[in-house]
């Protein structure tokens, strides 16, 4: 696979060939282990960013993700974040398996990759614009490559090094988690534009078209992806609320009394204005709401904004903050979107701050606005402060909830796992063990929340751990192929194997499973080299009942011990 290596320190670039490791996550782990000293400061010029795509990206539908890997300024450990949009399509068509970014520019720039040429553009004029939507528009109008390009950029939060700033692509998709935006900011890199026109000849065109058709039909005609066709991820709001798994008001509760108001069904009925797709995906799961807002002072004046919503945002900026109106949630999403913040981390940080204020650990001289659950305007102002960091409190809060609770207390209700703010599920043991041992500390690593919903009586914790790790290993294969996890029901091992065959590679199902295990081990090794320590269990998850009642610390600790002994040290 051809790799493009860009060095921002001396504005140079070179090409390299690296053997497989499939692509995506596998390739990124391999490159990072080779190119980066694991003990670097994440915000120093020595941090390295890898964007990796996979062998299926231009070839088959729904291999539309790009894996970003870097050292996370939020956790100080491995950062891995996946995004859709046009990014994978553009990188693959430009001819690359991965793009690597090293060094730091001495002044603000953005970088344009056009197939095998790289341009370093002066960004001093547009540095300091807080709104990532405006930055994107300016760059899109200046650069060519419409329909063949991706514009990955930060907003004000990335420039200001908020540790959970994201990188946004194609307006609505994000390398959201673990602070890639701050790494961009620290490198004086405002955006990376990739323009790609190209492709590769497949080995067996006839078989290729057959397999393609099969995957396409599976995606559209079977039930495998139905959930994402229709209401989208927010279809989860109602059922999770019903089974008492929807984290509400900093997880003091798991049911939200107005869940129906902010359900996927309600958004679809009242707000859904358009659906769009990532490149090479027929599903179009990106749901855009229209929000019509009046001018505050003038009658008969309105502006209408399109805002992308998903389950995780309704959780983090809705139920978690006690915000029960769709308009309120959409306004918060828009604020977070324009500044380029990770919505989940922002919501969890604000939920903690609200409770800390209630309990008197901090006061209004810290928060400047009176944070209270349900108060949208205060939260919008507070999000602005996370970006501006006008005082010490917001400087600390911009470092994440783990850090904030170290300084101000309230660790027991600071909901982070391995330093990463909690995703939107409180479904039982597998959920939380999943966050703790997942190598990204994400619900997507192993889908523990899904396991919890299928279990009546819990087995020994060791069995749960093995199941979660097994799932995570298979997901390493999917994320190395950069197949969207929403398409995991389509890309079964047998389908993957045949898809490879049409491209000219013999890979049997057993080899795939082994590759997943190997990538998992390598990634874990990288985490350990970066100083990974056994993550803490936040007290709050034990206090608040879920569908399985109250969770027992001993069970989770046993799981963690077992995982540590068998997989980390074993």
């Amino acid at each position: 696979m051809k790799i493009l290596k860009i060095d921002l320190s001396n504005y140079s670039y070179e090409f390299e060939e690296i053997d497989d490791w499939i692509g995506g996550t596998g390739l990124a782990v391999r490159i990072l282990r080779k190119e980066m000293n694991p003990s670097v400061d994440p915000l120093s010029e020595d941090n390295v960013i890898v964007f990796a795509v996979g062998p299926f990206t231009p070839a088959y539908p729904m291999a539309s993700k790009t894996v970003a890997m870097f050292k996370s300024p939020l956790t100080g450990n491995l950062g891995e974040s996946h995004a859709g949009g046009r990014t994978a399509f553009a990188i693959a068509n430009a001819g690359y398996g991965a793009i690597v970014i090293k060094g730091r520019s001495h002044k603000p720039i953005y970088v344009v990759v056009e197939n095998d040429r790289v341009y370093f553009r002066d960004a001093r004029v547009i540095w300091g614009i807080a709104d990532s939507l405006v930055i994107a528009r300016i760059i899109a109008e200046r650069e060519k490559g419409r329909g063949m390009r991706t514009v990955m950029r930060i907003g004000g939060a990335g420039e200001k090094l908020v540790r959970y700033a994201c990188v946004t692509t194609e307006t609505y998709r994000h390398f959201g988690r673990l602070g890639l935006g701050a790494v961009f900011g620290s490198k004086n890199l405002l955006a990376l534009v990739v323009i790609g026109r190209g492709g590769f000849k497949v080995k067996d065109p006839k078989l290729y078209r057959e397999v393609y058709r099969e995957i396409y039909d599976l995606a559209l005609k079977s039930d495998a992806m139905k959930k994402y066709h229709l209401i989208g991820t927010p279809v989860n709001v109602k059922p999770l609320n019903l089974i008492r798994a929807l984290p509400t008001r900093n997880l003091r509760s798991t049911t939200f009394e107005v869940a129906d108001e902010v359900s996927g069904e309600a958004f679809a009925e009242h707000n859904l204005g358009r659906r769009i797709a990532c490149s090479h995906c027929p599903i179009a799961c990106i749901h855009l709401a229209t929000l019509r807002l009046p001018y505050e002072e003038e009658p008969y004046f309105y502006r209408t904004i399109m805002i992308s919503y998903d389950y995780e945002l309704i959780y983090s900026l809705g139920s978690m903050l006690g915000v029960g109106s769709r308009e309120g949630i959409l306004r918060l999403i828009h604020k977070v979107e324009s500044l380029g913040l990770d919505a989940m981390s922002t919501g969890v940080c604000l939920a903690w701050a609200t409770e800390a204020l209630e309990r008197g650990l901090i006061d209004e001289s810290d928060t400047i606005v009176k944070l209270e659950f349900g108060n949208v305007n205060s939260y919008i102002q507070a999000i602005e402060y996370i970006y501006e960091q006008p005082n010490k409190f917001y400087e600390i809060l911009a470092q994440g909830v783990e850090r904030a609770s170290e300084v101000y207390g309230g660790k027991e209700f600071a909901l982070s796992f391995g330093g990463n703010e909690m995703p939107g599920y409180h479904a039982g043991y597998a959920t939380h063990i999943g966050y703790l041992i997942g190598l990204r500390h994400s619900h997507l690593d192993n889908a523990g929340y899904s396991l919890d919903q299928k279990i009546d009586v819990y087995p020994e914790p060791e069995e749960i751990v093995d199941k979660l790790v097994k799932e995570e290993c298979w997901r390493q294969v999917l994320s190395s192929l950069v197949v969207c996890f929403f398409a995991r029901g389509v890309y079964k091992p047998e389908v993957v194997s045949r898809a490879f065959k049409a491209l000219g590679y013999d890979v049997d199902e057993d080899e795939l499973v082994k590759a997943g295990e190997r990538i998992y081990r390598e990634k874990l090794k990288l985490k350990v080299e970066m100083g990974f320590e056994k993550p803490r269990i936040p007290e709050r998850i034990l206090e608040t009942e879920c569908m399985h009642g109250k969770l027992d610390r001993g069970y989770i600790e046993r799981a963690l011990e077992y995982w540590w002994d068998r997989y980390v040290e074993g």
């Binding site: 231009p58 528009r137 899109a140 329909g147 307006t171 026109r197 190209g198 065109p205 855009l288 399109m306």
Partner: protein
């Protein structure tokens, strides 16, 4: 009667680009290099998406400016492209008002010839084939 590729309802386009990929796939290529149809956003996806491809002009300017006759009029509108005599001058790219002729990485061009292969892979009913008078 000859057919041409048309849009049934452009507003329905979600910007997935499956048409773009189908077009190159016809040539056994995984990618967009040979694609004569391009999926684009309308200055950002908040305004939606659309597709750009040959309108099957009855009197195509691209044919007029082609110095080698690599582009010739097609019955029913649009062009027939003979790439072996194309010299890659890109006059046609300049001449097309809607930018529906694309540059390939080998220096030649990609243009829709109204074969209809992409229609089958348009998941949301944006594209169709329509019979036209010759």
């Amino acid at each position: 009667m000859p057919k041409r590729l048309v849009t049934v309802d452009l507003e329905k386009c979600v910007g997935c680009g499956l048409c773009t990929l189908a077009c190159s796939r016809r040539f056994g290529l995984a990618g967009n290099d040979y694609s004569g149809i391009l999926s684009v956003s309308l200055s950002g996806f908040e305004r939606g998406a659309t597709v750009i491809f040959c309108r099957a002009c009855e009197d195509p300017p691209c044919v007029q400016v082609c110095p080698t006759n690599a582009l010739r009029k097609r019955r029913g509108g649009g062009v027939i492209y003979r790439e072996e005599i194309c010299i890659g001058c890109k006059n046609c790219v300049q001449a097309c008002t809607i930018g529906a002729i694309f540059e390939r990485s080998d220096g030649k061009i990609a243009v829709c010839i109204h074969c209809g292969y992409c229609v089958d892979f348009c998941p949301h009913g944006v594209l169709a084939m329509k019979e036209v008078k010759a």
